[in-house]
């Protein structure tokens, strides 16, 4: 309902539930504020926003004052100004007033208002808050002497990030922002997301910048985070060609939040390890070359091998870290230039089973709903995802949803952070997902909780599903999953009976030899309950790399042209032949997981790797290296000399994500603009320019002026990107499907009908993992990611702050298993599987169940993938990275363990694909 109030003599129409501050702001009337933070900190504390209201006693804080019909407000009277000035005079009486050297000078609200209200200094003398700055955090300093206690930091930590790491201690003049127990920030729950410092109006929270920079020396570029698939929008702040920091933007995916990596993980960009010139191996050594030499050599090499052994002797690994435009050009080069469909990328290792499993059931292998819809869910079911560490901003949004009353079920082998908020925690054995889902569906059907109308109208093959799950009672599933039957029942009921239930999953479901079955079971469960096709519901795979969705969309897959148009479909092939002016191969290409064995067996002769590092990321690394060494020609295009690049014949130096324009497609299918913030080092080129140079050498027209031209070409050949161009995505991006210029994009999929028409139940019987613990290898190893590292650490391994927080490989082991093996917390242990062995530090923790051990996979030193099992899912060809059998024992006695620590540092070779 709209009402009208009078502000400063003007009649202002406003929503009846609004506040005076909001109404004034909407009407363009500015009221000063220090503590106000819309939606998160409306507490009336700072007293700067006070106004006079006719008929009301005293002054009122406009940020919390509800409007009422006919209200008469004055925002700038003498009394109001007097009160504001008094507040400022008191604040600066307890402030160092060291503006001359303060890094915040010029960007400080306190300073701005003192200027406006002509507060030169305080009329009051007296004591000041004295506290030594807390500089224990790797990335910023808290200096409480500059704190005005506006509490915006506390509010965003509690309500946005949901960490509750900081709060207020003391009272009166002694009030201060502190961590519980008043220790150091570094020893608290703080996850260094930096949301607090982005919201500090003074210099109390200041980032530790690589160099000093006055406000007016800084430039901001609005772009997308180079890390995970959430696709957070941010501002890269630069001075000259140096990135100082990133500031969160109010982007559609992140709403003012970032995680520690996106906020502070940029030291790699200007790192001296960056590749700056093309390198060609001559006499066994990589030697500098010109771009023309290098590109000619690449073209000549691929052409020669294709001519000698056929085009399928060449394959390419595209990159989930490169832009859509670059992925498009890469697969075009392989398909139209070289003539092979053997193009793939690391999605094979993470969500290949999502693509296959969801395509079979729903018809489209992407996140069905949008990130922000999690806030509309009544029930959130998280499984196979350590969301707060791998997709921190989505993790925070899940916590926000729980704060607002949503219920949360977590099914995970480890007691992850989200368990704290969970209503139900099912501590499942790794690899038992299908059994769990089938049992939940058994309960739902047995108790009549399924959505019959939805099943009848929207799906097919229900009878087969009902038949398959009929005997999978919770009692049958319980020993398989390691979970009490009652918990399974409760989870099933909560999920089925919720008004809007959403499922969030990641690699805990996909990285199995039964990954496709797991994904199909998730889809089955959602369709069974009709928890799909509406806001706040859905099946939501969380994609790992910043552009893994885009790389898939762009056809960096052996069976798909851009937009999932099938290579096997002759009509489609003809369309692309016409578009690209070349005859295209009808032979199916190799997947990533097939390329390496074929290289090993000698069938594959040449490999073009763009921004990937199979030497760390793939299972069974020993075998990966042997295979790569057998290639006749290995070309690697990257920003660092990764473990893989070190084996290459030709190395092409590329621009990092902050050095080029382009687009990324995030996990919610949103195509967003990437904007150049700094120049590349040396002669490094953006990948799209390198690829253009190669395309031209293969006789393909490629005189693209900018990535925008490439996107226009993509839109012409890719139905679901048909309506996307740079002008349209300038501000908020667009979510595909977006078929034409009038299409506003798609917030959630499958609303009226599924992508494949009817949703198809694909019942999947439970199968054991390929390798299970036995007497020789008695422990089940599962792998995963951690907050402070990213993928193979190419970038994060060169960020000293991140390395200091979490820089070495470790293995988590249950106290029972540790005791049995004589392992103490912190011991250096040797971990061995049938494929390899490594050393890591033991962390003894009851977060796991007995019999299960966990390792992060990032570290080059103690690389978990030396151990993992390359057994593949038959459909998706994804390897079973999540389950293998290992033995763990103390490495070389205690003495050696204490003295022999190897720290993967910035100076160590901790490479990886970007």
């Amino acid at each position: 309902m709209m009402i009208s109030i009078n502000i400063d003599g003007r009649t202002v129409q406003t929503d009846a539930g609004s506040t005076v501050l909001r109404a004034a702001s909407a009407a363009g009337i500015r009221i000063p504020t220090l503590c106000y933070l819309k939606d998160y900190n409306e507490i009336g504390a700072c007293r700067m926003c006070v106004v006079e209201v006719e008929g009301a006693r005293g002054l009122q804080a406009s940020c919390v004052l509800p409007v009422s019909e006919g209200m008469v407000v004055r925002t700038d009277t003498e009394l109001v100004r007097k009160a504001r000035k008094a507040v400022l005079e008191l604040l600066v009486s307890n402030h160092p007033l060291d503006c001359l050297t303060c890094e915040k000078n010029g960007d400080c609200r306190l300073q701005d208002y003192c200027y406006e209200y002509e507060v030169k200094e305080s009329p009051y003398t007296g004591r000041r808050s004295e506290a030594l700055p807390d500089d224990s955090n790797q990335f910023w300093v808290r200096d409480n002497s500059k704190c005005i206690l506006c509490r915006r930091c506390v509010a965003v930590c509690a309500a946005l990030q949901c960490s509750d790491a900081i709060g207020l201690a003391g009272r009166g003049f002694e009030t201060r922002v502190a961590v519980p127990g008043e220790g150091l920030l570094a020893a608290s729950r703080c996850v260094s997301c930096g949301t607090c410092i982005a919201n500090c109006p003074t210099g109390a929270l200041m980032p530790k910048l690589p160099q000093k920079a006055r406000t007016w020396e800084r430039t901001k570029a609005r772009t997308i985070c180079p890390y995970c698939g959430v696709g957070c929008e941010l501002f890269l702040v630069t001075k000259g060609n140096r990135i100082l920091e990133a500031l969160p933007s109010n982007g559609p995916a992140n709403n003012g939040m970032l995680c520690v990596k996106g906020r502070f993980g940029y030291d790699y960009v200007a790192h001296t390890d960056r590749l700056t010139v093309p390198l060609i191996r001559k006499n066994g050594e990589l030697q500098e070359a010109s771009w023309d030499e290098a590109l000619d050599a690449v073209a000549k090499g691929f052409k020669a091998i294709a001519a000698a052994h056929g085009p399928d002797a060449v394959a390419g690994l595209s990159s989930a870290r490169c832009t859509n435009e670059e992925n498009y050009l890469f697969q075009k080069l392989l398909r139209a230039g070289i003539g092979t469909n053997s193009v793939d990328h690391c999605a094979r290792l993470c969500h290949a089973s999502t693509v296959s499993g969801l395509a079979a059931t729903l018809g489209s292998g992407a996140m069905t709903n949008s990130i922000n819809e999690v806030l509309q869910s009544d029930l959130i079911f998280v499984t196979g995802s350590n969301t707060t560490e791998t997709h921190p901003v989505i993790g925070s949004k899940i916590r926000q949803a729980v704060q607002r009353g949503a219920r949360l079920i977590v099914a995970e082998p480890r007691e992850i952070e989200l368990v704290e908020q969970a209503d139900l925690f099912l501590k499942i054995r790794p690899g038992s997902n299908v059994a769990l889902f089938n049992a939940m569906m058994q309960v739902i059907i047995a108790e009549g909780l399924q959505n019959t109308a939805f099943i009848d109208d929207r799906t097919e093959n229900y009878a087969e599903l009902a038949e398959l799950v009929r005997d999978w009672t919770p009692e049958v599933a319980a020993p398989v999953c390691g979970v009490e039957p009652e918990l399974i029942r409760q989870a099933a009921r909560l999920y089925a009976q919720a008004e809007r239930a959403s499922i969030y999953y990641a690699m805990g479901v996909t990285q199995h030899s039964t990954g496709t079955d797991g994904v199909m079971s998730v889809a089955n469960l959602a369709m069974l309950c009709g928890q799909i096709g509406r806001e706040g519901t859905g099946v939501n795979p969380l994609r790992g790399q910043n552009n893994v969705q885009g790389a898939c969309d762009m056809g960096a897959l052996p069976g798909d042209y851009p937009g999932y148009q099938k290579v096997s479909d002759p009509a489609v092939r003809q369309k692309f032949e016409a578009a690209w002016g070349q005859t295209l191969s009808e032979r199916p290409g190799l997947t990533l997981t097939e390329m390496l064995p074929q290289a090993g067996s000698g069938q594959l002769k040449a490999l073009f790797v763009m921004g990937e590092n199979p030497m760390i990321s793939d299972p069974d690394l020993t075998h990966v290296e042997q295979s790569l060494r057998k290639l006749e020609l290995l070309v690697v295009q990257d920003i660092f000399l990764t473990e893989t690049a070190a084996l290459a014949d030709i190395v092409l130096p590329a621009a990092s994500a902050v050095e080029k324009d382009g687009t990324f497609t995030n996990t919610e299918r949103r195509v967003q603009r990437l904007r150049k913030a700094v120049n590349s080092p040396g002669k490094a080129w953006p990948d799209w320019q390198i690829l253009s140079g190669l395309l031209q050498r293969f006789g393909l027209p490629a005189d693209y002026k900018s990535p925008s031209n490439i996107m226009d070409e993509i839109a012409r050949v890719t139905l679901v990107y048909g309506g996307i161009n740079y002008a349209r995505i300038e501000h908020r991006g667009l979510q595909w499907p977006c078929r034409d210029a009038a299409d506003p994009g798609t917030k959630y999929l499958h609303s009226e009908r599924f992508s494949r028409g009817l949703g198809k139940f694909m019942p999947a019987a439970y199968r054991d993992s390929n390798e299970l613990p036995d007497s020789k290898y008695p422990l089940l190893l599962t792998t995963g990611r951690i907050l402070y590292q990213y993928h193979t650490m190419t970038m994060t391994g060169r960020v000293p702050g991140l390395m200091k927080i979490s820089g070495t490989s470790y293995i988590e082991i249950h106290p029972d298993d540790a005791r049995a093996a004589g392992i103490a917390d912190g011991d250096r242990v040797e971990v061995q599987s049938r494929r390899g062995r490594l050393q890591a530090r033991a962390r003894v923790t009851a977060k796991l169940s007995p019999g299960v051990v966990f390792m992060p996979f990032h570290f080059g030193d103690g690389a978990a993938n030396l151990l993992t099992n390359p057994a593949l899912d038959p459909t998706a060809k994804i390897p079973e990275l999540k389950v293998c059998a290992v033995q763990v024992r103390v490495a070389g006695g205690r003495q050696a363990a204490a003295g022999g620590e190897v720290t993967a540092g910035v100076d160590n070779k901790v490479g990886g694909s970007r």
């Binding site: 700072c46 206690l149 009272r171 003049f173």
Partner: protein, 629 residues
């Protein structure tokens, strides 16, 4: 007690309890009431109670009933014991200890002779109140006799740990009447007509508060009893909670019925362990008797109460801070509106009343609005309990009709200023209030007149100051309290009060400068103007009111570096009168800093540079030769 199903059960219970000799002492029996409130216990009442209990048992005195009761209000005279006989006679013994108690058992209980020298009149030797000396019982004293007790009606008379005794004194009758014979609207009407105003200090009409909350729709509403009494020197609420806990529970249930709430919370400070314990017991008893819980007295209405303990923050007495504290957050005020009656606890309509306000409710409901409005003044009907302290004959609790003058309280009821000193000012309203000087002693006390004098009613602290009190120091004392107790949320209160305090500190240290008073006034004005809650908005009051009435004292400190009351140490100097000094040397021995020297036969001298003005020498001097200037 068995569950009471209806009104008849309640009446029967009252009769049974009376018959069981609790309140009306039956023929041939004696009832010994030992004051066991915190004040009594602190003064040593527990051993006294033990003696009475053990001796009565040991001697087999079957006709004597020994009970503990709450505070009767005369703190200075604790431990107190009252012995009542069936004929209605009462004897009040004061300042007891175990030995005196044993003697009373022997002489009074066994031999039937009153031990006159321990009775209230004899013990309380004060020249101004000769009439008291004749009094054997508290009731006969002017201290008690001139009071009018509504809120304190049962304190010191009943055993607070017995629901039966409360019921026997019409307890829960008002609840029964409300639930079974009145509609919620009628209940609110009576309270509105009574003109009862909030006794926590704000003075907002209670009936209107209830009416606002009642008008809100929605199934969830709450009643909160604000028992977070925090003013320095105030202990009215504690006495009610310790001495008559059921009166609060009954009133909360009535309030709940009136507004449509089913749940109440008592927010009581953890520093009141005895109150917490007695409230807990009272809640259990009331639940057992069916006076809390479902379907009270067969009315179909249900109400229950839970305790929430405060952790010692003064600001949690502010209603919103109190609510946020109950919600489990840091206890801090928020701007109003919205008021709690609209959006209170967990955003639900909430009535929040203080203990004394609630204690009035059952009586008003039973006796009617007209009875209540006949007491007090037209704008401030009823009574007010004051906790009188400072330079006063009888410190303690007094409940007087509104409109009573300060002079009556100080001189007629509480026995005037001891030591023949001159009255200087009375401080009311705690740290939010102000000082009232002698020229206003005859002002009738009510909400408006106190505010007009620059003070306020507040929760009822009344501190009396005599000529030895420095008003600058007094202002500093109260500000010191606010500085400590500010929650720190808004800058005016958080920083402004500190700045004011620093200026006062300077002035009392003899370092005041021209312009200080103007800056104090400017700051005070800004703090009042810009602070978020009542605490900050009233924090400057003690300074402003002393500036108003005692500006010359401030000026003496600043300009003449002199403390007229000779209280501020930095401005006080001690001198030895050579005429009176007999050079005995005691002063030299008592001086902790060796500032006095001299030799036999000559007057001693104090070296001013060394003297720390502790006053030890003056206290020791047998010839009163040492004077403070």
């Amino acid at each position: 007690m068995k569950r009471l199903q209806n009104l008849a059960d309640l009446q029967a219970a009252a009769a049974v309890t009376e018959a069981a000799a609790s309140v009306q002492v039956p023929h041939g029996r004696l009832r010994v009431l030992v004051g066991m409130a915190t004040c009594g216990i602190a003064a040593g009442a527990s051993p006294v109670l033990d003696v009475f209990r053990s001796e009565v048992q040991a001697r087999g005195l079957g006709n004597v009933q020994v009970l503990s009761t709450g505070c009767i209000g005369a703190c200075r005279l604790e431990p107190m014991v009252e012995i009542r006989a069936a004929d209605g006679s009462r004897v009040t013994y004061v300042k007891l200890d175990a030995a005196k108690a044993a003697r009373i058992v022997q002489e009074h209980l066994v031999e039937g002779r009153v031990v006159d020298e321990y009775t209230i009149g004899k013990e309380d030797h004060r020249p101004q109140s000769d009439h008291i000396q004749q009094a054997r019982s508290l009731e006969a004293t002017s201290f008690f006799g001139r009071q009018f007790r509504i809120a304190l009606r049962n304190c010191g008379l009943i055993d607070p740990e017995s629901i039966g005794e409360y019921i026997a004194r019409d307890g829960y009758a008002a609840l029964g009447k409300a639930l079974l014979k009145m509609t919620p609207v009628q209940v609110i009407d009576v309270i509105k007509q009574s003109g009862l105003r909030g006794r926590g200090g704000g003075g907002f009409p209670t009936g209107r508060k209830w009416e606002f909350a009642a008008a809100q729709s929605g199934p969830l509403k709450y009643v909160i009893c604000n028992a977070d009494e925090g003013d320095p020197g105030a202990f009215m609420d504690r006495s009610v909670l310790e001495g008559d806990p059921h009166s609060v529970l009954e009133a909360m249930a009535i309030a709940g019925y009136a507004i449509g709430a089913a749940q109440g919370f008592i927010y009581v400070r953890a520093e009141y362990p005895l109150a917490v314990q007695r409230l807990g017991l009272a809640i259990r008893q009331a639940r057992e008797a069916g006076l809390l819980g479902d379907n009270i007295l067969g009315s179909g209405y249900g109400f229950d109460v839970q305790l929430r303990l405060g952790a010692g923050a003064f600001v949690c007495g502010e209603e919103i801070a109190l609510i946020t504290s109950i919600e489990g957050q840091r206890g801090e005020p928020k701007p109003k509106p919205p008021f709690p009656a609209i959006k209170g606890l967990w955003q639900k309509p909430t009535v929040i009343n203080n203990v004394e306000t609630l204690a009035n409710i059952p009586v008003i409901l039973l006796k009617g609005a007209a009875w209540f409005t006949a007491i007090g003044t037209p704008k401030s009907p009823g009574t007010k309990v004051f906790a009188v302290g400072g330079k006063i004959g009888i410190t303690g609790l007094v409940e007087i009709p509104m409109g009573t003058t300060l002079r009556e309280i100080i001189y007629d009821i509480c026995g005037g200023i001891p030591g023949g000193k001159r009255f200087k000012a009375a401080q009311t309203g705690g740290p939010s209030g102000g000082c009232i000087p002698a020229q206003h002693l005859d002002t009738p006390i009510d909400y408006e007149s106190l505010t007009a004098l620059g003070s306020m009613m507040g929760s009822g602290g009344l501190i009396v100051m005599d000529e030895d009190n420095c008003m600058v120091d007094i202002a500093k004392f109260f500000l010191d309290f606010t500085v400590d107790e500010s929650c720190g949320k808004c800058p005016p209160c958080r920083i402004g009060t500190v700045r004011m305090h620093e200026i006062l500190q300077r002035i009392t240290a003899g370092e005041g400068r021209e312009g200080d008073l103007e800056q104090l006034e400017e700051l005070a004005g800004n703090i009042k103007l810009a602070s978020l809650c009542g605490l900050g908005q009233t924090a400057p009051n003690p300074v402003l009111s002393t500036l108003r009435y005692f500006r010359d004292e401030y000026e003496a400190h600043i300009r003449d570096k002199r403390c007229p009351a000779a209280s501020c140490r930095a401005l006080v100097r001690y001198e030895i009168d050579p005429e009176r000094c007999c050079s005995c040397g005691l002063c030299v021995q008592s001086c902790p800093v060796a500032a006095i020297h001299g030799s036999k036969g000559k007057p001693y001298l104090i070296t001013r540079d060394y003297c720390i003005a502790c006053g030890a020498c003056a206290a020791k001097c047998p010839f009163t030769a040492i004077h403070k200037h």
